[in-house]
């Protein structure tokens, strides 16, 4: 349901952002008001791509925000957490948060493979059980 809604809303949002940015793009950038080219802009390869990425970033940040909420993050914290991510990190998280390793050290579920891990621990291949040291 949410997916379907997002599929309808995303193109609309893109259209709004593009239309919204048109007056800015059309107006001649006045050097005194427009200011310098930022380091972050200069680092992204070309301008057309940078504009497209900016729209993409807005969508990705929204997407990551939703994903974090779904992962049980407090709504009061979610905005600040997404804001602290770099553009590249936002893209990575939007694409593959579910596949990302999450450092947690949960041993509980592993007793099924206890013996194998015990052997690999003794061999120094793994470090699951502290008593093998």
């Amino acid at each position: 349901m949410m997916k379907k809604l997002a599929r309808v809303l995303s193109p609309l949002l893109i259209a709004c952002l593009v239309l919204g940015s048109l007056p800015v793009a059309a107006a001649p950038a006045s050097p005194t008001e427009g200011g310098l080219v930022s380091t972050q802009d200069a680092l992204s390869a070309d301008q057309v791509q940078a504009d497209r990425e900016r729209i993409d970033d807005v969508l990705s940040r929204q997407d990551v925000q939703d994903q974090l909420l779904a992962q049980g993050v407090d709504p009061a914290d979610v905005r600040d957490r997404v804001d602290a991510l770099s553009d590249q990190e936002v893209h990575d998280m939007a694409d593959r948060l579910d596949d990302m390793p999450a450092g947690a050290s949960v041993v509980g579920a592993l007793f099924a493979v206890f013996v194998i891990l015990l052997v690999t621990d003794i061999l120094g291949l793994t470090d699951v059980f502290p008593f093998t040291r």
Partner: protein
């Protein structure tokens, strides 16, 4: 009868063969477990033995090795952050863990620049020797049943070939180089140092360093990042983009003269960097030096780049001679 005897003799021989097979298999397995080959400490230029005693230990609660590791490096860096405050900033309740990008993001929020250092053992030892505790990510188990874990490397002992870590519930636990490297390799040897603005790690490429600072600057502000840009240009004076970034930070900090100098240095290192000519021109115009501004903007407007049109417009906006 004779056949039976032969079978019996064969089965007697099968046992040693089986044992041999097991031993060979184990040898093969432990072959992967060989400890990393390292240069001698002399050649690495680091001491034989280091322990960073001033890194406080926070034991992890439940699955919260991420927030605990962050608290340890932040405290060691002089920032008062406790695990309870960090948990809602980095922990994912449903995943019962923390992901790498958010680990970096959280360090940025505390005004520390997170640098992901080169992925090798020598880089790790060198950072520890430089008094930098290192957050490492390990998979303590096998890839099929991963146990992802963050720990803080705080020392090593080249003689014993052991790494010293604040890990999980244990402070200053020792792990052999070999075992540690096996578990660390599974995270592609992910290692992070969190440094105050103005400091750089030893083992990092200039481009990785540059984007780490740019990401830090985006979350904080140019003034806060200024010392880092200075350090970057000091370390790699031939890097034009470093000078360009320094110029922007100087400008934002309210020093157009220093900014103009940095932009000029950028154009000296790389005369084809149109965006540096453009910002140099805009800064000079801001300072009221229209002639010099025209010269710089002219350079930018003639160089084929995505900034050409903007330079052209700025040039037209200048009061005529």
């Amino acid at each position: 009868m004779r056949i039976m005897q032969r079978v019996q003799r064969f089965s007697v021989n099968a046992r040693p063969a089986g044992v041999l097979l097991l031993v060979v298999t184990l040898l093969f397995l432990s072959g992967c477990a060989g400890s990393p080959t390292l240069k001698s400490p002399d050649r690495l230029g680091i001491p034989e033995k280091v322990t960073l005693d001033d890194v406080p230990f926070h034991g992890q609660r439940d699955y919260q090795c991420g927030p605990a590791s962050l608290a340890m490096v932040l405290n060691a860096s002089g920032i008062d952050a406790d695990v309870d405050t960090l948990i809602p900033q980095v922990f994912l309740p449903e995943r019962e863990g923390s992901v790498q990008p958010e680990m970096l993001a959280t360090l940025r929020r505390y005004e520390r620049v997170p640098f992901v250092i080169d992925s090798n053992f020598e880089a790790l030892l060198r950072e520890i020797a430089n008094d930098h505790p290192v957050i490492v990510m390990q998979n303590l188990s096998l890839p099929a049943w991963p146990v992802w874990h963050y720990a803080v490397a705080i020392g090593y002992d080249m003689d014993a070939r052991e790494l010293i870590l604040h890990s999980g519930m244990e402070a200053k636990t020792r792990t052999s180089f070999g075992t540690f490297d096996n578990t660390w390799a599974r995270s592609e040897r992910w290692a992070v140092v969190a440094l105050p603005p103005g400091e750089l790690p030893d083992s990092i490429s200039r481009h990785r360093a540059m984007s780490a600072i740019a990401d830090f600057e985006r979350v904080n502000d140019p003034q806060t990042a200024l010392p880092s840009w200075r350090a970057l240009t000091e370390r790699w004076p031939s890097m034009a983009m470093g000078w360009f970034a320094l110029g922007n930070a100087e400008y934002a900090a309210g020093d157009p003269e220093a900014a103009a100098n940095a932009f000029r240095e950028a154009t000296e290192q790389d005369a084809s960097l149109a965006v540096a000519w453009l910002n140099l021109g805009l800064t000079l115009e801001d300072m009221g030096d229209n002639d010099a501004a025209r010269e710089a903007l002219n350079q930018s407007a003639t160089l084929p780049s995505e900034w050409q049109a903007q330079a052209q417009r700025a040039l037209e906006g200048l009061p005529s001679e």
